[in-house]
Each structure stands twice: as structure tokens, then as C-alpha cells.
């Protein structure tokens, strides 16, 4: 039961997510350098937040073409759980593991604050310790989190139940006011069709320590720890 965190030049939430993983797993994850073309055997891969390659070209675009990502794609296709957070979500869309794009926020401004999320799927390896329709509070911190895809892909995402989280009001209702970045249908996180790849803009690792003001992110890491220990 080991996890790997991929580190690109410009990743800056790699240490944060490693702290949360270590708390849940009981031991530190492997930190895998972007230039490596091989990855040890691991049960979970996390692509962390940050500004890989300075967001040059497009957020996540250059990281998606780094040597390690060929290996990440192969493992994902083989069924290994892959979690992309924030810039990691952008990398997963750029490399084709997840559909759609993350455009500039509708406000055109960086936004860093706690948001409410409605859990749309509680039957995945990532979300099994939440309940469906539960409202959880998780921070966002991004400039490019405005999820978009074409109508056919969107329909497929909805039909297949690939939407994992939506931005919502405190009572769970899906409103424009609750949408921090203009995302299509308030989408905050999506799964691949097999359900083993999750990309999400909010940072669960930022509210997984009571001193930081909340614990709503912790169940994701304990769910993953439980799943890969099983």
C-alpha cells in the first residue's frame, strides 16, 4: 500500500498532499520526479496542485507531455487509482485521461476560498467515506478552474455519472452564486468512465487538519488508504 506523488518543476502542493497521505497511510508517499520515465509499483498516484512549468502555454499542457506522464497514463489504464488536484486536474485533462478543459475563471481573477461541494458519487475509491448528496467544505485556489466541454461530452458525463462533485450552496442546491469560476453545470470534479481517475479543482488536502479550520478533506485520504490496504 504505497502512493506516489508526481513532482513537476513548479508543483507547489506536492508537500501538502504528501502530509495528508502520510497521515492516512501511516507512511510517506514516494515523490516521483517528472523526468523519470519509470515509476515504482504503487497503489495510488497523485498529481498535485501548483504551477507545473509555470503554466506556460496552458495550465498543465507541458506537464502532460513529460516523461513520467506516459507511465501515469499506462497505470491509469491498468486500473491504478489516479487523483489529480487543481493543477493535477488540468494535467489529467491535457493528457487525455479526463475529458474537457479548465479555462480561465469567469471572473478572470485568481480565487482562493472555501467552497461548498455536493458529493455526487459516494461509490468510488475516492469518495466512499462520504455519502451521496453530502455537502462538504473544501478550499479552492486557482486561476483556471472554469470547467468546459462540448454538449455531447457533457451529456455523456452526466449519463455515465462521471461528475464526482459540484459547487453548491450551503443547503446543497446548485446555484450560479455558488459557482466560484463559471464551470459548466457547477462541475468541480469528474471521474473517467472506469471510475479510477478523479480530477478535481478543490484541494481536499487543505482541510484535513483541525488546526487549519476543518476536516472535510480527510475522508478522501482515509477512503483511499482503506481501499488500497484492502
Amino acid at each position: 500500500m504505497t502512493a506516489a506523488v508526481i513532482v513537476f518543476p513548479g508543483s507547489n502542493c506536492d508537500r501538502d498532499v504528501a502530509v495528508s497521505l502520510e497521515a492516512a497511510l501511516g507512511h510517506a508517499p514516494i515523490m516521483a520526479w517528472h523526468g523519470d520515465s519509470t515509476l515504482p509499483d504503487v497503489d495510488l498516484i497523485v498529481v498535485p496542485g501548483g504551477f507545473s512549468y509555470g503554466d506556460y502555454l496552458r495550465s498543465g499542457a507541458m506537464a502532460a507531455n513529460s516523461p513520467i506522464m506516459r507511465e501515469v497514463i499506462a497505470r491509469a489504464n491498468g486500473g491504478t487509482p489516479v487523483l489529480g488536484i487543481c493543477n493535477g486536474f488540468q494535467v489529467l485533462t491535457e493528457c487525455g485521461l479526463l475529458p474537457g478543459v479548465l479555462m480561465r475563471n469567469a471572473s478572470l481573477k485568481f480565487v482562493c476560498r472555501d467552497v461548498d461541494l455536493r458529493v455526487e458519487r459516494a461509490d468510488t475509491v475516492f469518495t466512499s467515506q462520504y455519502t451521496k448528496d453530502q455537502v462538504i467544505r473544501i478550499p479552492v485556489a486557482h486561476h483556471d478552474g472554469n470547467y468546459f466541454t462540448d454538449p455531447e461530452t457533457h451529456k455523456a458525463l452526466e449519463d455515465n455519472g462521471q461528475v464526482a462533485f459540484r459547487y453548491c450552496a450551503a443547503d446543497g442546491s446548485i446555484t450560479d452564486d455558488a459557482n466560484p469560476n463559471g464551470s459548466l453545470a457547477n462541475i468541480a470534479g469528474i471521474l473517467n468512465t472506469a471510475g479510477n481517475v478523479l480530477g478535481m479543482m478543490p484541494h481536499p488536502e487543505r482541510l484535513a487538519d483541525p488546526l487549519l479550520g476543518g476536516l472535510d478533506g480527510a475522508p478522501m485520504f482515509s477512503a483511499l488508504a482503506e481501499a488500497i490496504a484492502a
Binding site: 513548479g10 507547489n12 504551477f51 509555470g54 481573477k109 485568481f110 482562493c112 485556489a141 486561476h143 487543505r206
Partner: protein
């Protein structure tokens, strides 16, 4: 022979006397490159020639101080082998000309000052002053500065956790952007800039050198006029991604023992970094300019020496360790080039294409830098105003709502939501009230950090205002339960050649010095920004203090939010209803006038120590310092933060508007579940406390006013800034 006859037409900002000194030092006429080097080294920005005489009077020592002023940043001991390294620095002139890049490179520069000493930056703060909201440039400048600070800090992944913002027409032509960084290092792994040792390789790392920012330090040492926008090419362009790589590469190399000395290339670039290292190490340095990595062709020696291209460092390595260093920098895809060696000549010698292009003795270049005891006139004292000199409002509740909606008191959420304030996973106290609180990673310790200055007080009385800046920062750090340890200062003033401006600087420095002594918070680093004038109009005198304190156990932190229903509310400290120079007087009663509130440093110390010990003894459930806007505003902020109201049933003996909005110093609002014990503790400590009401309900009820719902307080508090920024 007459020196005057040989004077070049352009002395590059140097005076005739300064040029004569250069002729003496050189024993000949300096060439263009040499004169450029003297010009930047002796600029106000690099030499502190107007302020040095007074800066020397500040207290800089203490058992907690590992390194005071004179290095890249100050260093204090926080126990268990750890050190906090911090400094504040201005980027005022560039930010007015090009707000995004000016502010961004200000943040980049101050972070380099901190990590060049071996620290990982853990927190950024910024103290900002803008002109009147009605001024046509203000909105554009706020947008650019905030985006620039966020753009740099967010990308590099260091949280921006706090700061302050004021508006005043005095800043219409000169905004202030002061950026502070705090980092953490091991006490046995602190790096300095003295290049001690002979025959050592001098190594350049980081970005390539371009033509950006040439004469930036000189620009920062002159007033603005209507053509200042033409100086845009002197503003540097930042690349936070490269700085992130530079940070990681430097820390990786610092984990080895290959580095003898390291210095970032900030103002005056390669010139000041190489001179600094040679001077401190009592050595000479020879640089081959052909080996400097360059991103433009045909760069002249003076351009290479004066360029302020960002994200560069100069290091002196132990001999034979170059390959090890190169491997680390190549891993991070950065340039590393050996550009020179140290020797015993004590001269800075520059070569290019096999020719010597500059040859300057280092000791006089540094030691003979001018130092002026400029003439100054003290700011005339103002009259102390009585309560009746400042009229009461028609309605106290309406006045409070108007004030908390005003530009200077409203919520700064629109700003700090654009900053990543949580990255690194240790932001325990988020932006909003009092000091920011950042945990020291992997420990139970936390650092409390606050930046403060009340320019209208300093304008009215520089001495009291200087004291107050230190006292307020100290009080904010105390409010979260931490023990203040040291401060950094950023002295922003107008043209020091005008005696009344120089008088402001002298008064403020004297006041700061007295407060730092009384509050055991020595000045360990700082920066001076003068000539903040446009067309002869100076800014308000703005000596900003950044205070750093230590909380040994982060779980003992104190918040400002009202908590439990029924808690008793106390004011710690005496309330005389001092309205002179208050926000109420300025915004609601015709303008700032009279003397500002005096700061009694003994009382300040006594009250603060009492509050801190009460927090440690678990006597208090919430604590907030009283500053701008007085008691009523402090109570409103605590109600908004806790989303619970309060009933203030105290009957003041003074006019109620003076009681509610007066800005007497050394005060805190605290709440407690056990008023009897709290009062007994206060009596034992000989501290004045006044019980004024209790926490509870959904409204704030003040004496002589209708209840105001917490919801309407919040709406008023959060309305103005987003609406202002969205309008055009």
C-alpha cells in the same frame, strides 16, 4: 587642475561633491562603467545616505537576535534549533509606473532576500497605500498591484497571509507597495554574504541577464514628475516559475557544504552583489563579463553590471565544488556559470574580451559612500482636542455602519481571496483580523506576523506616530497569544532634502526606537524609500512596521471572533475618548485635525503582557486589538467574525461618540466566561479593565443606538470594495 573641468555632462544622479570624492578614490577620471557603478552604489536606494545617520540610533540587539540589519534579512532565534528570517522592502516607484510587474517583482525580490540566507519562505505579507478612490488611476493601480502580488506568490507557492491597505489622496501620485517575507531555517544553516577566502570561484546562477531594470535603483532615488511613465523600461519583469526553481535549487545546494557565501542580485544587480560580497569578505573580486549568461546580444559592460534582471544569485563556492553545484542547477534547468574568482587585491576588476573595463578599489567604494546629516525641522505640535471639538453623529448606529463600509475600514476579502493564503498547509490564522498565524512546519510552534502603520498619526506627530506603528503591530501579535520577538521596518517618506520631510523621518525613527526598546522588539532588518513625491507633493509619512512573534504551542492560539453566548465583554486599557486624528473625525466630522493619541509605552507593555498571560491561562475566549475606528468598530469586527451579536450595556461617563470611536492606544477587547477571575487577575496585574457587556443574540447593541443586526454589519463591511472594483 580643476576637477570641474573634467566633469562629464551626466553625473548619473551624483552630486558635484560626490564626483570629486570619486576622482580622489580613483586617482583618475572614472570611465563610463566605473561611474555607473559609483552612481548606483551611492544612490539613496543602495547607500541609505540620508537615513543612515538616524537608522544607527535604532535598537538592533537582544538575546533573540542572531543577525541584525546589514545582511539580506534579519534573523531571530525561535528555539529548538530554528530561526525565523524576515524583512520588509518597498517597490513603490516601479509599482506606480507598472503596477503588475512592479508589485510582482517586489514580492520576488523580498523572497530572494530571505531564501538567500538559507530559509524556506513560509509567509508573505504586504502593506499597500493607494490614492483617493476617486482618483482616476486608483482602481487600475489596485487591480494591477493585487494581481501582481498574487501572480508571483501564488505561482511560487508561498502563502500571502496578511497585510494592510489604506487610501489617502496623499498617495495619488505615489502609491506604496511594501512586501514582507518570513522564512524558516536551521540556526546552524544560515548563509551570509561575506566572500571570505582567496582563489574561490564566483558563480552566477539563475536567469540570464537582459537589459531590464537598468538604473532602477537610481529611479527609486528621485522624485516623479509628469514624464515618469517614460521610465517604464526601468521596471523589471518577473518570472515566478524561475524563482521557484531557483528557490528549490538553492535550498538543495545549501543542504551540502559547498557554499561559502551567497547574495541575491536585487537593486543594482551584479554591481551591488559583487561589491557587497567582496567588501564583507575583505577580498577582491575579478569578474569576466563575457561569462555572464546573457539573453540579449552585444550587451555593454555597464548594462551587465547594472541590469536588474530578476531571479539571479551570486555565490562563492568552495574550490572544486563547481560540478556538484552545476548538477543541481541543471536538474532545475537553470544556468550556472563561473564568472570570476576572489583574490587579495580588495579591488573589483571587470574584464571583457581580454581587456580590463573597470578597476575600482572596494573599501572606499563602500566606506566613502556619502552619509548626510541633512537639515531637519521638527513637525510643529498640534493642539489636543477636547470631546466637544469633534461633533457627535446624528445617529451612532448609522455612523458605525458608514464607517465599517468606508474604504479604510471595510473588509479586504476582495484582495486576499486573490492570494493563495493556504498553500504549504500551515496557515492557522487566515487573513482578516489581527495578526496572521503560520505554523512552523512539522512543529507545534507558530509565528504571528503583522504589518502596521497609521500615517495620519505620523503626519500629525511623527514621534508618537512612529511609536504607534510599533505598538500596534506588537499589539496585533499579542492578540493571537504570541510573544513579539522583533520587527522589520519600511520607512516611506518624501524628499529628504526638504527639512520638514527630514523632520518627519527623524521623529518617526526616534519614536520607533523608543517603542522597540520598551517593547523588547529590536529592528533586525528594513528598507528606506525616499523621494516619494510627484511634482513636489509628498506622501503621508509612512513608516511601516512588520512584527514577528512566537507562539510555542499553536493549539493555544486566540481568535477575534465572539464565541459563546453569555461571555462577558471587557475592554483592557483606559478609554478617554481620544478623537483627534481618529477615523471618525476624518471621515465623519470634517477631516483629520489635532494631536493623535499618545502612546504610553509602559501601559502598552503592561496591558499587552497581561492579555498574553490571560490567553495562556485560558481566561479568554476572544481577543481583538482596538485601533482604527475605536471600540465600536472592534466590537463590530468581532461580531461579524463570530456571526453572533453583543449587548453593550455600559454607560460611559464621556460623550458616547467619543467612547465608541475614540482611538486611545494600548487597548484590547476580550471576552471571558469567568468575569470574576478575570477581574481579579487584572487587579493583581494593576491593569485597567472595564466590563462593558455580554456576547449573544443576532445584533450588536451599543449605548445610545438601536440594535444593528450582525447581518447588516456584515453587508456593510463587505459591500464597498467589490462594488468599487467592479464599477468604472
Amino acid at each position: 587642475m580643476s576637477a570641474t573641468a573634467q566633469r562629464p555632462e551626466d553625473l548619473m544622479g551624483l552630486s558635484d561633491e560626490e564626483f570629486d570624492t570619486i576622482l580622489e578614490i580613483m586617482g583618475r577620471e572614472p570611465n563610463f562603467t566605473e561611474l555607473s557603478i559609483f552612481s548606483v552604489m551611492w544612490s539613496e536606494h543602495c547607500s541609505y545616505k540620508s537615513s543612515k545617520f538616524w537608522l544607527k540610533t535604532l535598537p538592533t540587539d537582544g538575546p533573540q537576535v542572531i543577525q541584525g540589519p546589514g545582511e539580506n534579512a534579519g534573523v531571530i532565534d525561535i528555539g529548538d534549533g530554528l530561526a525565523a528570517i524576515f524583512k520588509i522592502e518597498s517597490h513603490n516607484h516601479p509599482s506606480f509606473i507598472e503596477p503588475y510587474q512592479g508589485a510582482a517583482t517586489g514580492v520576488g525580490g523580498i523572497m530572494r532576500d530571505v531564501f538567500t540566507m538559507g530559509a524556506r519562505p513560509i509567509a508573505n505579507l504586504n502593506a499597500l497605500r493607494f490614492g483617493s478612490p476617486d482618483h482616476p488611476k486608483t482602481r487600475h493601480l489596485i487591480n494591477g498591484v493585487v494581481a501582481g502580488i498574487g501572480g508571483y506568490g501564488n505561482c511560487i507557492g508561498v502563502p500571502t497571509v496578511g497585510g494592510e491597505v489604506n487610501f489617502d489622496p496623499g498617495y495619488n501620485g505615489n502609491i506604496l507597495v511594501n512586501a514582507m517575507t518570513v522564512g524558516i531555517a536551521n540556526t546552524d544553516k544560515i548563509f551570509y554574504s561575506a566572500a571570505a577566502g582567496l582563489g574561490l570561484p564566483v558563480v552566477y546562477v539563475g536567469s540570464k541577464t537582459g537589459r531590464d531594470g537598468i538604473h532602477g535603483a537610481t529611479m527609486a532615488s528621485a522624485e516623479f514628475d509628469d514624464d515618469s511613465a517614460d521610465k517604464r523600461p526601468t521596471v523589471q519583469v518577473g518570472d515566478p516559475f524561475t524563482e521557484k526553481l531557483l528557490l528549490e535549487a538553492c535550498l538543495e545546494l545549501m543542504a551540502t557544504d559547498a557554499i561559502v557565501a551567497i547574495q541575491d542580485m536585487g537593486a543594482a544587480g551584479l554591481t551591488s552583489s559583487s561589491v557587497e560580497m567582496a567588501s564583507k569578505g575583505n577580498v577582491g573580486i575579478t569578474l569576466n563579463l563575457d561569462d555572464v549568461p546573457q539573453r540579449e546580444t552585444e550587451m555593454q559592460p555597464f548594462e551587465l553590471m547594472l541590469s536588474e534582471s530578476q531571479e539571479r544569485m551570486l555565490m562563492v563556492l568552495k574550490p572544486g565544488r563547481e560540478d556538484e553545484a552545476r548538477a543541481i542547477f541543471e536538474k532545475w534547468e537553470l544556468d550556472l556559470s563561473v564568472i570570476g574568482t576572489t583574490n587579495d587585491s580588495e579591488r573589483l576588476v571587470l574584464t571583457s574580451a581580454g581587456e580590463v573595463v573597470a578597476d575600482i578599489p572596494v573599501p572606499p567604494l563602500v566606506a566613502a559612500a556619502p552619509e548626510y546629516e541633512r537639515p531637519w525641522t521638527a513637525t510643529p505640535p498640534r493642539e489636543v482636542l477636547g470631546h466637544d471639538a469633534v461633533p457627535a453623529p446624528f445617529d451612532l448606529g448609522v455612523a458605525l455602519l458608514t464607517m465599517i463600509e468606508s474604504p479604510d475600514l471595510c473588509s479586504r476579502r476582495w484582495i486576499w481571496e486573490q492570494y493563495d493564503h493556504m498553500v504549504m498547509g500551515d496557515t492557522v490564522g487566515r487573513p482578516g483580523v489581527d495578526a496572521a498565524l503560520v505554523r512552523v512546519h512539522g512543529t507545534q510552534k507558530a509565528l504571528a506576523i503583522s504589518t502596521d502603520c497609521t500615517p495620519r498619526y505620523v503626519e500629525a506627530n511623527p514621534f508618537e506616530g512612529g511609536k504607534q506603528a510599533v505598538a500596534e503591530a506588537w499589539r496585533n501579535v499579542t492578540s493571537v497569544g504570541a510573544t513579539p520577538l522583533a520587527v522589520t521596518n519600511n520607512l516611506n517618506f518624501g524628499n529628504p532634502e526638504r527639512p520638514e520631510i527630514m523632520g518627519q523621518l527623524v521623529g518617526a525613527v526616534q519614536g520607533m526606537g523608543e517603542a522597540c526598546l520598551a517593547l523588547d522588539s529590536p529592528v533586525v532588518s528594513g528598507n528606506v524609500s525616499l523621494y516619494n513625491e510627484t511634482n513636489g507633493a509628498a506622501i503621508l509619512p509612512t513608516p511601516v512596521i512588520g512584527c514577528v512573534g512566537l507562539l510555542e504551542d499553536v493549539t493555544q492560539r486566540m481568535g477575534a471572533a465572539f464565541e459563546a453566548d453569555g461571555d462577558a465583554i471587557f475592554v483592557v486599557g483606559e478609554t478617554t475618548g481620544w478623537l483627534g486624528c481618529s477615523i471618525y473625525q476624518r471621515d465623519m466630522a470634517g477631516g483629520s485635525a489635532g494631536a493623535p493619541p499618545p502612546v504610553d509605552l509602559n501601559t502598552e507593555r503592561q496591558n499587552g503582557d497581561f492579555v498574553r498571560s490571560s490567553i495562556a491561562a485560558h481566561q479568554i475566549n476572544a481577543c481583538h486589538d482596538v485601533s482604527d475606528g475605536g471600540l465600536a468598530v472592534a466590537l463590530a469586527e468581532m461580531a461579524i467574525a463570530g456571526n453572533v451579536g453583543a449587548d453593550i450595556d455600559y454607560k460611559p461617563a464621556i460623550p458616547v461618540h467619543a467612547w465608541a470611536f475614540g482611538e486611545d492606544q494600548a487597548r484590547y477587547v476580550v471576552t471571558t466566561a469567568d468575569p470574576a477571575s478575570f477581574e481579579a487577575l487584572a487587579a493583581a496585574a494593576n491593569v485597567a479593565v472595564t466590563r462593558i457587556g455580554r456576547v449573544g443574540g443576532a445584533a450588536l447593541t451599543l449605548p445610545g443606538a438601536e440594535p444593528i443586526s450582525v447581518e447588516s454589519l456584515r453587508e456593510a463591511h463587505t459591500r464597498w470594495l467589490p462594488e468599487y472594483m467592479a464599477s468604472r
